[in-house]
């Protein structure tokens, strides 16, 4: 990498120009505006400008009752909508002290892991498309469509789910969903061989990703990076393992990590997490307990006064809901901890010194969703 420090400031000021990887750009995964200060093709400074898809979720939360806010979490991070939906329900259940039946917990785990697989498919294949390989993107979506069919069968929507309710889930899973998931898991296992040949051993893909955008553990600590981006740098932190919630303690699965911390490591962590999610789904399907799917809950919950913070592992990192309640049916304040917000800010530390093509690669490997950052 070109060592920026050797160029003294005088020469930098003449040769430097600003380039807007603007709100509308094929590879900014939504409306992300990266203001690059370039010297030729090497990035001197990068400043992500956000706010282009801000919708005021937190202000909306303050004038709706808890039930009315249910559709919003899925529209914050629409790639892992199911996970955010269940996260919000968990937060209110913890606040009100509602006990969720075990079958509902299992269904929540199954649907969340399916959603995580679908989100990782977009994360990894969008990264590959940022490098210029378009075919993996379409292959990845082919598998993702199967998941969307399954989740649509039980929740009715493909992307922005409102399947979770306080005290459980909306309706029970059907036999069709059960067999469909089994079939899907077998098919997905056979598909890994295709991805292995198409991308994982692709020489150009490896050369473009190796040693690009290295995030050290110190940076990760200082910037609050979590999720696959952190696990790519060698830290074994996953909320499902470190702070077990819902039914995760009952399943055996490992947390894949890589030491290098570059784009390839983050890609490999996400691909390895697909297998772990399949293991979890299989174990959950094998021991699915009978019983009710929703606890007895009053029509409008009225949590006691006080606050609580619930964290859960979304596909992008440790997301969280901090709810302050004043004892009425309207939440006083809901703060959403968006993992992409901190993951994105680490770009300003690791990007200088890379080429323009690498910026697209690093941004893709960190895998952010823009509305989750802007909330």
């Amino acid at each position: 990498m070109l060592n920026i420090k050797t160029i003294d400031d005088a020469t930098i000021s003449q040769r430097v120009y600003q380039l807007n990887l603007g709100p509308q750009h094929p590879s900014t995964h939504g409306v992300m505006h990266l203001l690059l200060t370039l010297d030729g093709e090497v990035v001197v400074k990068i400043e992500p400008i956000i706010g282009y898809s801000h919708r005021g979720h937190e202000k909306m939360a303050e004038n709706r009752i808890y039930e009315q806010f249910l559709p919003n979490p899925a529209r914050m991070d629409y790639l892992s909508g199911m996970i955010f939906n269940h996260g919000y329900c968990m937060a209110v259940e913890k606040l009100c002290g509602i006990e969720v039946p075990r079958r509902a917990e299992y269904i929540r785990v199954i649907t969340s892991e399916l959603n995580r697989i679908a989100s990782h498919f977009i994360g990894t294949m969008d990264y590959a498309m940022g490098l210029g390989a378009i075919t993996p993107f379409l292959w990845g979506w082919d598998d993702r469509e199967n998941i969307l069919d399954l989740l649509e069968m039980i929740s009715g929507s493909r992307l922005t789910y409102s399947y979770g309710r306080f005290g459980g889930v909306r309706n029970d899973i059907t036999k069709e969903f059960y067999d469909g998931t089994r079939k899907f898991i077998d098919r997905l296992r056979s598909r890994f061989w295709d991805y292995e040949n198409l991308i994982n051993q692709n020489v150009i893909f490896i050369k473009r990703s190796r040693d690009v955008g290295v995030i050290t553990t110190e940076d990760a600590l200082a910037f609050g990076v979590t999720g696959p981006t952190l696990r790519g740098s060698g830290v074994k932190y996953d909320v499902r393992k470190n702070e077990p919630y819902s039914a995760y303690p009952e399943f055996k699965f490992e947390i894949p990590t890589r030491k290098e911390g570059d784009c390839l490591a983050r890609y490999q962590v996400r691909m390895a997490e697909l297998e772990q999610s399949i293991n979890i789904i299989e174990q959950a399907l094998d021991h699915l307990p009978p019983g009710p799917v929703r606890a007895k809950v009053p029509r409008f919950v009225t949590p006691p006064e006080g606050d609580c913070y619930v964290t859960f592992e979304s596909a992008r990192g440790a997301a969280g809901f901090y709810i302050v309640s004043d004892g009425t049916r309207v939440p006083y304040r809901i703060k959403v901890r968006a993992p992409s917000f901190s993951n994105l800010f680490v770009l300003t530390k690791i990007c200088p010194g890379h080429f323009l093509a690498d910026i697209v690669a690093i941004f893709g490997s960190i895998d952010v969703t823009v509305p989750e950052i802007d909330r």
Partner: protein, 334 residues
């Protein structure tokens, strides 16, 4: 050998059989062949891309989507020709024209079959390469004139890329010239037909280097940094609309056809083939090579700019030089 050189033609048809007329007829054929070729290739590219990506590709226009490119061209004709105010008007307007001209000229020396060849120019091989570098100038002009940072980066990249890959290209073809000691493409094809053995068996390394260098020369596949969608929006033709954009498209695909045709002439024995007439073999080999180029495009990601440069200067050129050196020695000894 050219159809007009047959002895009786000149006195039977008088002026009609003269070189000037055959040149004119040849140019007419090119003017018809090239756009048809491009239309067919764009459709094949979208169909190949579709089938590789598990989807059918264009289906609605004509039976099985055959007329899709024709409709694209008509639509682009109907588009408004936007000339952004901040552009350098003359260069902006001139660049699509200059990019197409060398693409047409490249077809003249190509030996489609023993009789069918527009003009067996005695410096045929040099003619094609010199005109192809004019195409690069027009890309630079287009990128610079459209006053857009993305197109400027794309244009500057295209100049560096073409300069870096012109040298291994020429070094890879030198052994062929040494073996047949002629620049006339017709005679090179003739030499392979007589000896029966294609030059690819004599010069496998040169063939590989030639193939890589031509893919990079025509900004295709893993080397398409000039028009890298995911980084530079659309590279140098970001600001071009309507027919001007399609002229750039036309030039890119024609250069691809010329590159594949050159590869078949140099290494795959041009029109030499057992049963079928010459031209059929020539076009079969050319279109197979074009399919391989498209196939590579839809499986490989794009390489980075410094890797592109290192690959050319540090790997391709030394190997090409060594190969040339060995060929010279072997020819001297034999």
């Amino acid at each position: 050998m050219n159809i007009t050189q047959l002895p009786y033609i000149k006195d039977v048809y008088g002026f009609l059989g003269s070189d000037v007329m055959s040149g004119l007829v040849g140019l007419l054929i090119i003017a018809a062949l090239v756009p048809l070729n491009v239309a067919f290739l764009v459709l094949v590219e979208r169909k190949v891309a579709g089938h590789i990506q598990l989807r059918p590709g264009p289906m609605e226009v004509g039976p099985h989507g055959i007329l899709q490119t024709l409709i694209d061209a008509v639509k682009l004709l109907g588009k408004e020709m936007v000339t952004p105010s901040s552009t350098d008007k003359l260069l902006y307007w001139l660049s699509p024209i200059i990019v197409v001209a060398p693409a047409f000229v490249g077809f003249i020396p190509l030996p489609f079959s023993p009789l069918v060849q527009i003009k067996d120019v005695n410096v045929g091989f040099l003619l094609i390469f010199s005109f192809s570098s004019i195409g690069v100038i027009s890309i630079l002009m287009g990128g610079w004139a459209s006053n857009n940072k993305y197109s400027l980066i794309g244009a500057v990249r295209s100049v560096a890329q073409n300069v870096a890959y012109e040298i291994p290209l020429l070094l890879a073809t030198m052994p062929i010239i040494l073996m047949t000691n002629t620049f006339k493409l017709g005679e090179i094809a003739q030499a392979q037909a007589q000896s029966g053995l294609w030059f690819i068996f004599y010069q496998p390394i040169a063939a590989i280097i030639f193939f890589i260098a031509t893919t990079a020369e025509t900004n295709r596949a893993p080397f398409d940094l000039v028009e890298g969608e995911s980084e530079l929006v659309s590279g140098f033709h970001t600001e071009y609309t309507g027919m001007r954009f399609s002229l750039f498209f036309l030039a890119e695909y024609t250069n691809m056809v010329i590159a594949a045709a050159l590869f078949t002439t140099f290494f795959l024995g041009g029109w030499h083939g057992p049963v079928l007439p010459g031209a059929v073999w020539f076009f079969a080999k050319t279109y197979f090579l074009l399919f391989v180029v498209m196939w590579i495009r839809w499986t490989y990601p794009r390489i980075r700019f410094d890797q592109l440069m290192n690959f050319a200067w540090k790997i391709l050129i030394p190997i090409a030089l060594v190969n040339l050196f060995i060929t010279a020695i072997v020819l001297k000894v034999l």
